[in-house]
Symmetry: C2
């Protein structure tokens, strides 16, 4: 089997899961504590405990998490007038879970600055109590449940701060249990990407096989009795599959069947994207800009924002999710978040061995632009995607005044903003080029 061993996670998890600057203070004036107990849902779908037989149990002590005060109670919907007003005239401020004008943010000292000219919405620092608890639990899961890395790398795993990332992206999660659904999946997705696709053990050769077999940890095989046990055993054969299997097991127990089906579909898209990118790498080929953008709509954060309803403890009905206008909104938002990754990881990828495709690199190569001009053009591509997302989301909110749709759109917008904040703040890995 050409499946590589798990590399050291401190160097392997890609840009999206990495260490958050140590000087973050995170004091946000307007946040208030709510009263839900960790592990005891006070809103949304009740979550089951961990799977029987796994060593990781609920936390011994309840930590009172804080929650961003959402002016509209989750699931209650908002009036369209509220939803569509906003200081920027795009009509989308109300789609945010924490509208800026109603939740003044006390700027916290932090590392990193936003990319000049990048259209984005600043958000408060993630709740520290939640970050601490999610970070503690995700480490225990990685060590005790899926053996993602050797114990001596525990401290380094803490440094990735995937807990901070996911708390920031899901401000309306009713409990830490809900946040853990997203956090396990994010860790698992990054483990698969890195161990199978990227430099740390990955390769384009045999990638189709590896990704398909890993995909069966999400979308199970149904075959004859003689061969089923070998497949079941294979899901424990390496860290990526162990992580996928366990993360999906938790997710399926918390989600409705259509929500699980949606995630499987988005993960199939992600794997197709990996394989397209790998085919260019194997041929040392730089695609056309539009081809790169098409690939990047698949090799994309999409599986993360689209679980916002499950993480929020409610369900966007399948027929509303499948609407063409909703699919367009999801694609635009996910594409914007993904180009954010290209832009913040630009200098890091330039320093890495080999040629790593990202939007500025592809534009420079294909359109004969300087590195600076190509980068600045990529910022404009991002901004247009963001504006289009907000315009289309506002139109959908008007066309479909259903509470679950309104909340889902706010959840996607919150994910977009939290994702930007995490990238911007992460000076441990990211630094901006000297283009301004």
């Amino acid at each position: 089997m050409p499946v590589p061993e798990l590399p050291p996670p401190q160097s392997s998890l890609p840009e999206a899961v990495t260490r958050f600057g140590a000087t973050v203070l995170g004091a946000v004036a307007a946040r208030a504590h709510d009263t839900d107990a960790v592990g005891g849902p006070t809103g949304g779908r009740p979550l089951p405990g961990p799977p029987a037989g796994l060593p990781f149990g609920p936390p011994a002590t309840a930590v009172p998490p804080t929650a961003v005060p959402v002016t509209d109670a989750p699931g209650q919907g908002v009036g369209l007038e509220r939803l569509l007003r906003g200081p920027h005239g795009l009509g989308t401020a109300g789609l945010r879970l924490a509208p800026r004008e109603e939740r003044p943010v006390t700027p916290a000292p932090r590392e990193g600055r936003p990319i000049p000219g990048l259209y984005h919405h600043p958000v408060p620092e993630p709740d520290e109590a939640r970050v601490d608890e999610v970070s503690r639990r995700i480490k225990a899961w990685a060590l005790d449940e899926v053996s993602l890395y050797p114990e001596e790398w525990e401290e380094q795993f803490d440094g990735f701060s995937v807990g901070r990332y996911m708390v920031g992206c899901h401000p309306d999660a009713p409990t830490v249990d809900h946040l853990m659904l997203a956090t396990r999946l994010m860790v698992a997705e990054n483990a698969v990407d890195d161990c199978y696709c990227e430099d740390h053990g990955g390769s384009p050769i045999g990638l189709g096989e590896r990704l398909l077999l890993a995909h069966t940890a999400l979308d199970p095989l149904y075959t004859v009795r003689e061969y089923q046990p070998e497949w079941a055993d294979s899901l424990h054969a390496d860290a990526p599959r162990r992580a996928y299997r366990s993360a999906m097991d938790y997710f399926v127990r918390a989600a409705g069947p259509s929500q699980a089906d949606r995630l499987r579909h988005d993960m199939a898209r992600l794997h197709l994207g990996y394989l397209a990118e790998a085919s260019w790498a194997q041929q040392d080929q730089v695609p056309e800009v539009w081809e790169y953008l098409a690939m990047r709509q698949f090799n994309n954060f999409r599986p993360c924002p689209t679980i916002t309803d499950t993480v929020g403890g409610y369900e966007l009905p399948a027929d509303l999710h499948a609407r063409a206008d909703m699919q367009k909104v999801i694609a635009l938002a996910s594409n914007a978040t993904t180009i954010v990754n290209d832009l913040y990881s630009y200098t890091k990828e330039l320093d890495a061995p080999g040629r790593h495709l990202n939007l500025p690199v592809v534009i420079a190569e294909r359109e004969g632009l300087s590195d600076q001009d190509a980068y600045l053009k990529s910022v404009e591509v991002h901004n247009e995607l963001m504006h289009d997302f907000e315009t289309e989301a506002a139109a959908l909110a008007t066309a479909c005044p259903v509470p679950a749709v309104q909340r889902f759109l706010r959840g996607v917008a919150a994910w977009v903003d939290g994702n930007h904040h995490w990238h911007q703040s992460n000076t441990y890995r990211y630094s901006l080029p000297d283009f301004w």
Copy 2:
């Protein structure tokens, strides 16, 4: 762009779309004509006309199609007692659209014999009037709408008899328009498989890029205004993409959003399966049997039976489709149909250049069995999948007595049977090994 040109279709379309034996008479005593007009739906969801601006219009003359008399009117459901009775004790005879005991079949002289010991259900010959009309229309679509092949190959395209295939698999389609939805997709899927993946122009190299770009004909790109036109133009750049784009355009206009989303998901699975198979081909590697079976659950007929509701003019609700027990039934049925393809195409693939993976070949190689023993073991694998499908379908029918579920299960069973019949009858391409 490493996308190959379309090869001659007469040698390129794989086993699933090929010429039907010329001596088929197809007289079936118990069939009766219904009164719907071609192009004028008398049941199910009304279908739109062809897309504006395309040269292919509705047929000039209405041909009265015949329909298999379905004892239970479409969409009306059946009593569970009826549904679960059956001569074989598996409780699934009632899942068939045309229960054998109520629709005696006058055996028609035909070429081909079933594989000895293969568990299957004989079905009547497809209705000849419908076959003729679908065949006429699919040829016009291939020539006039998507330029699938040069005009001089028209006669050879007729010989593939994909119309016969699809009419046989969808006996409850209310009109020929509905049948065309399935027929266009089947032709398009085979064009992509053959031109991108298989020997006739295909290659594992660059396949990830080609399949992803083709997938955007099904699952559209949403990007910035500068690059969107180049993507839109790319959908006309080769026959596979032209076929995908057009077939999906018709489908989306006839289907509900969740039905379209389901098809996109199944097609993403299919493309992942192609890429896993390609990774083995590139490494000249024979997988383990369970690995092959996992790949074959993705490189699979699944996108065909799962549109049975759209082709039937009704909709299985998304939440019922997503149920774990329904997903299991669909996977088992689709896996059985796919192993049927492996078994009937065995001698053909042995004669082809290079090593073509199929279940008997993989079992022989991996388990050290003779060709004969490996083939006979593959028949048993198929039979267990079929029995499991029927058992699980009967359990689901009992657990979920909803008319759309009952009809969908009957539709999937009809597809399984029609698929077997088409393979068995197709002595133009298939011959059985001398193992009995």
